[in-house]
């Protein structure tokens, strides 16, 4: 890979990592609320 390609590769990697982190954060919040609802309906 040329230095330019390497740079583009790392920029894409970073962009994907940020989006993935956002999605994981969203799933954490979603599962938190699902758990609260499930506990509420079980009790």
């Amino acid at each position: 890979m040329s230095p330019e390609e390497q740079k583009a590769y790392q920029a894409r990697q970073k962009h994907r990592a940020i989006i993935l982190a956002g999605l994981l954060g969203f799933m954490v919040v979603l599962f938190y609320f699902i758990t609260i609802v499930k506990i509420g309906t079980a009790s």
């Binding site: 890979m1 390609e5 583009a8 590769y9 894409r12 990697q13 962009h15 994907r16 989006i19 979603l30 609320f33 699902i34 609260i36 609802v37 309906t41």
Partner: protein, 301 residues
Amino acid sequence: MTTASQTIQGLASAKDLFALTKPRVMSLVIFTALCGLLAAPGTIHPVIGFTAILAISLGAGASAALNQWYEADIDAVMKRTQGRPLPAGRMDRETALHFGIGLSVFSVLLMGVAVNWFSAIFLAFSIFFYAVVYTIWLKRSTAQNIVIGGAAGAFPPAIGWAAVTGDVTLMPILLFAIIFFWTPPHFWALALFVNSDYSKAGIPMMPVVAGRQSTRTQIFGYSLILAAVAIAPFTLGLAGPVYGGASIVLSTIFCVFSWQVGRSKTTEPEDMAAEKRLFKFSILYLFALFAAVVADRMIFA
């Protein structure tokens, strides 16, 4: 050493991964699934309802990714699909396959854990049906491929219903049947006036295999079945007068437009006013009919 994953193609962009899920198709899936969920008897907590729609959407996105993984060769031949991530060379096939399988597994597990396992199994079956039965098996081998593909697109409202009730009764089966019988007239009307490259790609589409006139006759035939199925929830007492009135008026217009298509003899796409009218109306028809199902349930439940 440079491996496949270390090339720029090996690292697909987030935008291309999103495009792989066919977001426009997904919007229709979300709408019909939501209608199925809202029309079902019983209640569902908003958080669980949201999760169910999310899981169905992710399942639809996974099916679309697997479809594009398998059809990269066809997509490369057709003008309409040449710009997709795989044929355009912006992503390798392995990435699409891994993304599709990963998303499938995740959507089914999410549905099972958060909603119920009946709808999770139902969702898994719908992904299998679209990716394997339709895409891999039947699309390239029969001119009725759109009819079978329609079944894959017809699952979401029934899965949305199952998310609430945990079962499938006559009403969700009728909602399934409405989309199933709506798909051939909708798609064949488009196929008549859009000069697609399906014959170039070796896909046996009805207008290419059976000819325009046979396709037009079949459009009218399917429209009659669609009208009967669409009005059935009202005549069977499963839906109230709001849905009954809407389904009768909408289906009558649909049949009149289909009849006009059936009588058309035009061969020039620019003169196919009847086909274009039916295609445009078919989109409005499905949205209005499903909105009527929900409105009816909201008013009379």
